[in-house]
């Protein structure tokens, strides 16, 4: 039982990253019918920006200019990096996708792949192949709950990612901008005629998606403090799987599927030899998609897409 609970805790943390990244895929898809393949690399960029911001704040704090405790540095790091990375996302959209908006979807998808490679290799040139370690802003405290070990970081990661998902949900449901997004997901042709600034809404969508990816990048850096320029590639693929599994364009679906992916990977490794982890885990996902080709909450192409 303790083993089961321990793995449950592990998979909650692991699924958080998939969920946060999958949200970005899903949002962009529901509006533009486009998968932003550079999204995994934006997750990586977010993590690196987080390292830069936190080192900057630490330097400010230790030099006495801005004496703030480390937990506040962490909060500010997350907020600042989300803010900065959202601009990276908007630039990617402006440079990579807007010129190709009326081009075939395949061209736009390839653009995403290329931007991803540019971000990876750009980082490689800028910072070298050396791994970057995320500064440990908070001391790890491990709690032993009857054989199940939980750390303060794990709790924080799961809480922050759930909070962000909830915030996104509220934003889309309750604000005017959110309504514009939903409207565009509903009908991309008619909405501009109603006077909705399409370009702004799309840029905002990319910005929010990237901010969530940045949050995932920083949380990832806190849990696994070794960052490298290619860390976003595999994560991008797997989160993409989660986005599809959740149902294209569904916030709730993407979140749930992200966590489900985390559960599957961890529990497969618990039951089967760990060498077979991804093989079995993704065969299971494949099986699910065979029976539910539109994911959990998705609807056939012709039908409307919900945000």
């Amino acid at each position: 039982m303790a083993i089961f609970l321990q793995n449950l805790v592990n998979s909650l943390q692991w699924g958080s990253f998939y969920a946060l990244i999958a949200l970005g895929y899903s949002m962009v898809y529901s509006i533009l019918m486009l998968f932003n393949f550079a999204h995994g690399d934006i997750f990586m960029v977010g993590g690196y920006i987080g390292v830069g911001v936190s080192f900057g704040l630490l330097a400010l704090s230790s030099s006495g200019i801005l004496a703030i405790p480390n937990w506040l540095i962490l909060v500010l790091t997350i907020l600042f990096s989300m803010f900065l990375t959202s601009f990276v996302g908007m630039i990617v959209e402006r440079v990579g996708y807007r010129p190709l908006r009326n081009a075939p979807r395949a061209s736009a998808a390839i653009t995403g792949l290329m931007i991803g490679i540019i971000l990876e290799t750009g980082n490689l040139i800028l910072l070298g192949a050396r791994r970057v370690s995320f500064p440990s802003l908070i001391e790890t405290a491990t709690y032993d709950l009857g054989g199940v070990f939980v750390t303060n970081k794990k709790i924080m990661i799961v809480a922050v990612s759930l909070l962000l998902t909830l915030a996104l949900h509220q934003f889309i449901r309750r604000t005017k901008w959110g309504m514009a997004m939903r409207a565009m997901a509903f009908d991309f042709v008619a909405v501009p005629l109603m006077g909705v600034p399409v370009n702004k809404v799309i840029a905002l969508t990319f910005g929010i998606g990237s901010a969530l990816a940045a949050a995932a990048g920083i949380l990832f850096g806190i849990a696994y403090p070794v960052l490298d320029p290619y860390m976003g590639v595999l994560f991008g693929w797997k989160a993409f799987v989660a986005a599809i599994l959740g149902g294209r364009g569904s916030i709730l679906g993407a979140t749930l599927a992200g966590f489900l992916l985390g559960f599957t990977e961890i529990f497969v490794a618990m039951i089967f030899p760990s060498t077979l982890r991804d093989l079995i885990a993704y065969s299971i996902i494949l099986l699910i998609l065979t029976f539910r080709p539109h994911g959990f909450f998705g609807e056939p192409y012709s039908a409307r897409l919900r945000l």
Binding site: I3, R131, T142, F220, L234, S274, T275
Partner: protein, 389 residues
């Protein structure tokens, strides 16, 4: 004009006669094949500095005494640009043009393996100080090495854990997609089960390169009743594995292999790695005797602590010296002398090097002890003990 030319020719002939006269004076020439430029210039630098330090000693002693005669020594240092083809070119040049007696280097297996083929074809003894790939000496009677091989570390670590902690159950976590960790994990498992019986490796868990989350594997390991975790990984994975193990409640020892021996390990891993052990060629901190003497001299001269390449090069030079002395006398016939040096090298027994005691006993890979390093509470790699196979 004509007179001038004649004069010039006269001088030239004179100089040539003079220089060939000098070359006939018996001098021992030792080739150093080092990556002075290219990808790993630091390795080349360490090689050069260690060899020159050795030459200083020899010069101070007036040369190497072989039999009843003392021979002056000359080093032929060539740059292989850390490229395989340059290493081959340099090796050929040193053997056929510079008439070297023995060659030390190249260091990395990438250059050592092709260069070893050339040296063996020309029947010239060669010692690679640093190459751990089995291929560099395999089926090459003229090629030796000064370090241990990859398959050797598994049993060494297994012995160390068994003797030091008296543990009976071990767990292994390794990367199944990378040759070095996979091989080492297998060798360790075999050695451990040979001592403690089948099933004594209670958890044998793997992952694939680029994985960052090991929580399910570690949860399995923790619940398997293992007393120690062996993980022969590179520094970036070491940091993640060790930290996650501690966060999941693992408080028992963690042991690694020589791939841990990078300054990055502690930088990335932090306090979590303090107290962990790993096996390696040599440890600078806490060294004693000749090892310490070498480190101090090197540091005084070049301003930094020598790494394992420099220490192994020093040992290779000492081995060369011992082998040359072991021939009992040089004949002056280069071919014969090279053969004699080879034979002498292969018969080296209980040679006390600064990286441990070495015995060749007819083989080309030394049987030597590994050093177990403990990461201290300040993050330094300190000598813990020497373990022999």
């Amino acid at each position: 004009m004509r007179k001038g030319m004649l004069f010039g020719v006269c001088i030239l002939v004179g100089v040539m006669a003079f220089s060939t006269g000098w070359a006939k004076e018996p001098t021992i020439k030792i080739g150093i094949n080092a990556p002075i430029t290219g990808d790993i210039p630091k390795v080349g630098e360490g090689t050069k500095f260690a060899a020159q330090l050795w030459l200083e000693d020899v010069k101070a002693a007036g040369g190497i005494a072989v039999g009843k005669k003392k021979y002056p020594v000359e080093l032929v240092i060539e740059d292989n640009e850390s490229k395989a083809e340059s290493a081959v070119k340099v090796t050929t040049k040193m053997i056929t043009e510079d008439d070297i007696l023995v060659m030390v280097g190249p260091q990395a297996s990438k250059q050592a393996v092709p260069a070893a083929g050339i040296a063996n074809n020309y029947k010239t003894p060669m010692i690679t100080p640093w190459s751990t790939n089995p291929d560099s000496t395999k089926d090459k009677p003229y090629v030796f090495r000064a370090c241990f091989l990859d398959p050797f570390q598994g049993p060494v670590v297994a012995n160390f854990i068994s003797n030091e902690f008296k543990f009976k159950k071990a767990a292994v976590l390794y990367d199944v997609a990378s040759d070095y960790p996979k091989g080492l994990a297998e060798f360790f498992k075999k050695a451990w089960e040979d001592t403690h019986g089948k099933g004594s490796v209670v958890a044998y868990e793997s992952f694939t390169t680029k994985d960052t989350d090991f929580s399910s594997q570690l949860t399995k390991i923790i619940n398997s009743g293992a007393q120690v975790l062996f993980t022969p990984q590179y520094y970036n994975e070491v940091a993640l594995i060790v930290q996650q193990a501690h966060q999941l409640g693992w408080k028992k020892p963690i042991v690694g292999s020589d791939s841990w021996g990078s300054a990055e390990t502690v930088k990335l891993c932090g306090k979590d790695c303090y107290g962990a052990f790993f096996s390696t060629h040599y440890a600078a901190a806490g060294a004693t005797g000749d090892t310490k003497k070498f480190i101090d001299r090197y540091k005084a001269k070049h301003g930094y602590v020598p790494d394992d390449v420099a220490a192994l090069t020093w040992d290779a030079m000492m081995l060369v010296q011992k082998a040359i002395q072991g021939t009992g006398g040089l004949t002056g016939d280069l071919k014969k002398d090279r053969d004699n040096v080879r034979t002498a090298l292969s018969q080296v027994k209980k040679f006390k090097g600064i990286t441990g005691e070495m015995t060749f006993a007819g083989k080309n890979d030394p049987s030597k002890c590994a050093v177990i390093v403990k990461i201290s509470d300040t993050g330094e790699f300190t000598f813990y003990k020497s373990v022999c196979p």
